[in-house]
Amino acid sequence: MGIFERFKQGLKKSRGALFGRLGHLFSSNRLDDSVYEEMEEAFLAADMGMETSLQVVERVRRLARENKIQQPSELPPLMAQALTEALEKVDPTPSVAADGPTLVLVVGVNGAGKTTSIGKLAHYYKSQGKKVLLAAGDTFRAAATEQLVAWGERVGCDVVRHVAGADPAAVVYDAIQAAKSRKVDFILCDTAGRLQNKDHLMKELAKIYKVASRELPGSPHEVLLVLDGTTGQNAISQAKVFREVVQVSGIVLTKLDGTAKGGVVLPIVQELGIPVKWVGLGESKEDLQPFSARAFAESLCEEE
């Protein structure tokens, strides 16, 4: 199965839900305002937010006019096109260090799926023949380190860890030293979940960032914000605040194998210009895929 198909397969449920809403619309044979109103509502129901939903609907309306479309059934490809355009403004290619180890810092709110995403990311890079080291930077939550260690065993890579309650910046420091001596390609740093309005925790994160950039110049090469695909408009606030503190360079959108559509990434891409780089589509270690705007958009809008 190619990446594209796999991606679509994982998103089947999301597609079902959005298309289910619109199915009856496209079967009607009059293209009037009520169709666009329903379309707007479907976008809203995908967590795209008011402003972005309106923009995308407007774009579809214009595309329909330009292409002289008469039938609602011809709309889905245009919707996919509009969504793709909105998402393609930014480059989703993962960043890597020009030479030496690439340090990836993974951040996000509690329960977004950071540790699991790191496990899957480690598997992805391992399967590409890279040497991966994990840093157990969540020293706060009970058994978070154990969870990462379990992933390390499952995937087959080393984990740098400290005791519970240790300074996460120190864990990252040690991981960088270890990576240098072991000739590692990727350092994936886990961090504790933190809500973006907790000032002291955001400061802790800033410190981790600072230590990383000092010990390994040019790093973190990638700062991934993990967003739960079921999250609503609060995700925008998360992206804003995390970007300000640690210069988020990409988003990992998780839990898209459910019925949630993760549409909130559209306003994030639109307003903040942060690209989605990875998508979590399931429980197994293979279920993290590079993001493709077209596959994502088409999955949401097109029939089987």
């Binding site: 058994a143 309005n197 999250t231």
Partner: protein
Amino acid sequence: MFEALSSSLQKALSKLRSKGKLTEEDVALAMREVRLALLAADVNVKVIKQFVDRVRERAVGVDVQNSLTPGQQVVKIVYEELTELMGGEQAKIKMAAKPPTVIMLVGLQGAGKTTTIAKLALSFKQHEHRPLLIAADVYRPAAIQQLEVLGTQIDVPVFQLGQSQLPKEIVRQGLRAAQAQGADIVLVDTAGRLHIDEDLMKELEDIQSLAEPDEVLLVVDAMTGQDAVHVAETFHQRLSLTGVILTKLDGDARGGAALTIRSATGCPIKYVGLGEKIEPLQPFHPDRMASRILGMGDVLSLIERAEQTVDMEKAREMEQKMRNASFTLDDFREMFQQVRNLGPLDQIMKMIPGMNKMKGLENVDLGDKRFLRMDAIITSMTKEERANPDVMNASRRRRVAMGSGTTVREVNQVLNQFEQTRQMMKKFSGIGKKMGRRNALSALKSLGMDGGIPNLQDELGKLPLSAEGSNFPKSRRHHKKKKK
């Protein structure tokens, strides 16, 4: 309450000045704003539709009270309807006639089940119950260890059989262990799962039919978006939920999922979780949730807290002083101590409408250390200096800095801040009568009059809270200019 409406709403409605009955036009205009507010809060679109229709029906033709504008009147109705929709009787945990009471927690991955179960156990423990936790999450790596660590923290036993047994078997044996240990509450931690995962949902049904729980509680992340409706509906269909626990409400999400879930399932929200620290769960307040969803901030909670902690007698005295402008450093110190008593500043700021969206606030150091230092500086002064700060010459400033372990610069800052506050007090005095009730809030604002807070003065002026004193923003800006 109603002077504290979200500012967009206020702006849209300020044009309406008609008296008498609410017209269809009044209501329609207000409803558009309400719809936007609810959307921004992640209330499900269908739920919004139903809700707005219902409110519209009720609102048209209602008499506008003298004290309110038509817009405010509509929002009052919206607020009441929201509160009612999420409320009803205070929902408590149903206890089994014959112990143990079995409670099962279910939900999506990452909703906060394990943390919540520890908090729930702690709440029961504090009420002289003997809870037992059953670790039935055999899928997520280290989930069992997490529960064990938490169990040790709160001194509650955890039953587990490792990851190799079936969850159903773990629960079966766990219940037997509960009988043997004389536990009267059994809390079952289940693995997070997608509501569309047929196998895992079946597993939950199996556990349910075996354990016959008195409560099946759905744990939901307050940040959940539109999909909350699917999740709640499916879990409810499969397991006949008895209630909901809303977690991560200490974040800045508006929590519209609460309303969505309530209307989709009819299940009451029994508790809310605030933070990762293991402390007892908080009861759910529909009225506060309603104002949070509408973006009015949790003003009620703040006022309540202020009433509890701010000494009313002192507040009145302070008010008097403000009006006479006989405000001294001692009063200044007392004022910020009262504010400190309200709780951690970042939490307080969050509760004030508009504050959470304020520009520049993220740069503000809300650490309580600043207060400690200010306290040290003021207490290092002599009585005379405190009563009359004008005598503070360079030598005195140096002495105070040494005495308080700070620098002359910091002493100067405190004195400047005090002077600014005093200046502002004079301006306040014209509308002093209104100050008493919201003394804490005003005090809080004046504390923010610190050079390190860009835009705060302007932004505060825009806060709906101070909207009634329309001369506020003007006088503040004026003041700022003078400083330059």
